[in-house]
Symmetry: D2
């Protein structure tokens, strides 16, 4: 599998630079017969899009998907599905200065060191624009998982700076620009974000992603464990610095008697495990948590270097997100869905001969 | 790559069950000409071994490595290196009861659901015994990284329950059974662990792993990012529930002006990034943190099910670690070394034509 | 690696159907710094194109390549290179009848059995139109191999039906529509092909592909042998039924004393091996031979079935090649170049530490 | 997938040198629940073994298989199956001379060039001893294919030098040391081989391998086509120089009206295709043909070089096969079975949702 491909059997290969002519992806290994049309991508792409509110980058992309192959008369055919989105609002002028500069906290310097040259326009390949195609591919995976297994993959913002939700309501999540599960805090967050934007600074965020109704048995020990692949999937998203499954880092301070999820005929009595034991799904909800760093593109000046090695003051004037985590909810969902879809296919490849296995324990507490 | 293989070019395939006749691995893609002898594995295997102190499981394995192939006259030949360790102290009797039970917090139930049958002796394939071969393979990777790039891969315990080090000294780490960087706390930890063992309970731990002298440019965007592969590598270790790179989850509460590591001619002014930007090494120290859950094998009874679906009281009487994190230091080192070795080979495959790239920024603050 | 991807490190993923909106590919893992422009593909695409002479299908495609990503200021950047060609002369009307029919000797029936549905327009994904993108990707590989190693990858038609060349001249090959190495036979071949076309029938062909100046040492035993990968590469081309390396099937009748290529300081005394020993290049010319079957799309009626299972008479009226081998010369070159490029990268990944190895035997006789 | 691994989902990794302590393999991705015992390998290993008759190498290996992992209470568990065979009759003394020599027609020189060093004892890794483990792994694949799909994978010698069978009887094949389908020719072959052995020379051979009852739909276009993977599988066997599917190179001289296999409700009217159309099985018998070169290890002297670059006379005095094709029958079967098993798993991964597809054409003529 090449480095711009994700997934072993349901394989998504993405391409495209932030300010190049287009971005796109090829989905290979997709089961045939799934209903698919160009309009199906709009909802999730809009959730990821910039410029929806004043709290995200003001780049306005149409994000119109063209299906180039792999679909015939509205159904996937099993051949590679190529999706294409033309870039329409790429203002490379904003980046004139950074052509010659390595911005601190960015991939400018490391791409330069790796390849000896780089496409500096808008961050080139290292831009979060690439995640658009993850979301697009995730739409196909989500649909199949939902139709075949009633799996629901959802995510929400769980922390911005030191603000945490006081209450939890899935209905609230999609009703505010912060994907925040507590409607009562939206005003507070707007004020927080407005002040932050004015200050020219940025802030980190935590996203929680959950998949319900995942059957037990998915995940490939030892090096294709479900949690290992979720960790890689999430850590591959721009700006991510940490991933937790279930109790995550809290388990460092737990005792075994506290952490282990006891089992009864009625279901598991807890879900510290996050729905995964030994790298295999248990039938409980899959739960993971992802840490997004604050973006390094700030109006506030910082010390950096230029390509000649001179020290320079770096100031970003282009369009940027004060909290990149905000738009990451559909991206986290997509990556979780892609992992699950791939594992579902792998599971039936190896274990398709295994019939219904008893006893099956109900999911129990989420 | 099959699910029991790790690495794309430097590929380690492990096999073996906890109480089967043997465990082993095949290392494929190893560069030729590396000096290697059976005795080279002893040091790290001893660091990982059980039964060194009263604080770890009392299983005593000789862990004698036989090199079956791939080495001729003391040098690797470039052909697959097979390593074999016979199991010598596998007391399956201890596990008689669990043959019929699903232990809470263990992989018993999920293996059963996936495969429809399982080898229950000592946890079978899901036992941490498998990690022995990771450590063995890591010895080869560490050696090559050290000889060719002066890379040093080290790890230490950074937290046990809520105990954190007060001071930091690499020399202390290998001088106590807790791989603890502050010698002054060893007495406290011994008391803590003794009390824990007597209580029949267990505790979580956090391990920090660091690689120094990694050149800039390693890591393959987008889905083979260095941090993504480290995350998968660590999460694939038994009992791991979380992985952080650099600032990790602390970055959720950071501002961008705080997080971004400024650059000067003398080096980076910080290392919140953990040595990785855009999925590529920056030349700074690679830093990651790993959360280990407390083992679920306890003398304290818990509610579980048997294979007929009856509710049972589960009590573990076999030999177990009250803190599995303690023996995980060489495992984390090995996994980090395996990722780096694989990425080093991949980097020179694609970018071997890229000469010395200027300007190169010194590592600066760790 | 997904099934529509070729190569482990220099990975080409193709997509697109014969009569869909476009065909394209993504080249991942390409070394950075290679000069590349949209016009560079024209020469080889024209060599592969239909409608150049009356002896090939009369479909006329512009085959204009758009570079969507991976190139900045005329150089490859190391990020995925996406190439797109819009289909402009897809007359699906010609295929109205075959929507409901399984043509004998075609993939219609097997796609139907595999996927349960298919895109029947022009053969959909199973059309040789797909090979356009192999040729495009091959252009990049050929360039790198030529610039870095002076490797020259060439092919020619070596047999049409029972006609074989009487003489051999590389200069002749590109000077006639049959890629034929003996100019004196061109008239005979034109008459042969004209008669064939009038008869409504088709004919098979043999293509020889040769790579000069390949350094010794390329190829990965045991399952990534150079010859094994060439065999797979060639057999993956539409209509191919056989592959030989060096002496090929003639070696069945050879004695060992005849087959083994003796070695002297001046070079090898023969090349029965086709430049490969033990799956590794020897420094001699790499030589392989490929058998193309006659196309099954004929004006002559044949017995077939329709999708309801009724027996039908199948007659092809669309545009087709009476000898598909004719246009396969650049395709065979491309596949050989792709294998070599991928192996070159893999070789330096594992064996980049191995310096100049002595003694080195000159190539000797071709 | 590493270079010593074969198969994407049913993955076999082999290791071991001809004169090292052992050879072995790891089978990963095997479905759980298959009955398996150490004795199950004996039959096919004996068919491959040397020293059965005076017509093969006189090396006598016990070939006793130890199952190290992956089997519990006589059933595969879905975890990696490690198989080990100790080498017992490795007379490295026979090879003393070749330590310093590159034998013509052997991999000595190419391994040296690739790795800069080599294990010269008995050819090291390049020895056909490696194929023992292919045969062992093939036993598992054959069993599953037979039990689940009634697939029968068989092979026979189809040509030795210019001797071809006059009649065909599967029952004869296993009843003579030449795996020859015409019992009436056994005397002739014995005389031929005796004379050859006395002359100190060797001869090539052709093997035909056939799989019956393969369901339609297996094979992954475009680059994982069934025929492409068979070609790679066969070409990866030591001494193979050519592979044909169905009509193979004969199709070069065929007309389309002759080659295309017409279809009726009663079945296909021919099998020029060898059971594969568009890279996907058609439900007909899978047929392929493999060319084995004559071994280059002869008592007859040849010109070669030593490792210092001096010209030397090379004479082989060790134990060798005058016709390596003779023992290749079970190897070809194993490789065909491994390809089919892997493709079967891949097919149900992607197309497990596709139900019974009508119309299904009977296999018809073999």
């Amino acid at each position: 599998m090449s480095a711009n491909s994700f997934g072993r059997l349901f394989t998504v290969t993405t391409f495209g630079e932030s300010h190049g002519p287009a971005i796109g992806c090829v989905i290979d290994g997709c089961p045939p017969g799934i209903a698919l049309a160009a309009g199906d991508f709009a909802h999730d792409l809009a959730r990821r899009a910039t410029g929806k509110s004043r709290h995200t980058s003001q780049r306005h992309e149409a994000d119109e998907v063209e299906i180039l192959s792999g679909v015939y008369e509205g159904r996937t055919t099993g051949t590679p599905i190529a999706l294409l989105i033309r870039n329409t609002d790429a203002r490379s002028k904003d980046y004139d200065r950074i052509v010659e500069q390595f911005r601190p906290g960015h991939a400018d310097y490391t791409y330069w060191q790796k390849y000896g040259l780089r496409d500096p326009r808008g961050g080139g390949r290292s831009s979060a624009r690439e995640t658009t195609m993850r979301v697009a591919a995730g739409v196909v995976a989500k649909r199949w998982l939902a139709e075949k297994f009633s799996i629901r993959v959802r995510a929400h913002v769980a922390q911005i700076g030191d603000v945490r939700p006081h209450a939890f309501d899935w209905n609230a999540v999609e009703a505010n620009p912060f994907f925040w599960p507590d409607a009562s805090q939206v005003g507070e967050l707007e004020a927080f974000m407005d002040a932050l934007r004015k200050s020219g600074d940025s802030i980190g965020a935590r996203i929680d992603a959950i998949a319900d109704n995942v059957p037990p048995g998915w995940g490939e020990p030892i090096y294709g464990k479900l949690d290992a692949e979720i960790a890689a999937a999430m850590m591959s998203i721009n700006a991510v610095k940490g991933v937790e499954i279930g109790a995550g880092f809290a388990s460092v301070m737990q005792k075994g008697s506290e952490h282990r999820d006891e089992m009864t005929r009625e279901g598991f009595l807890g879900n510290q495990a996050g729905g995964i034991l030994g790298g295999i799904s248990s039938g409980q909800a899959i739960r993971c948590s992802v840490a997004f760093k604050p973006t390094s593109s700030l109006r506030l000046p910082a010390r950096g270097l230029d390509v000649q090695g001179n020290e320079v003051e770096v100031v970003t004037t282009g369009r940027h997100d004060p909290c990149v985590g905000l738009r990451s909810v559909p991206i986290c969902e997509a990556m979780l869905a892609l992992v699950l879809m791939d594992q579902a296919l792998r599971h039936r490849a190896q274990c398709g001969d295994v019939g219904d296995v008893t006893p099956r324990i109900p999911a129990g507490r989420p």
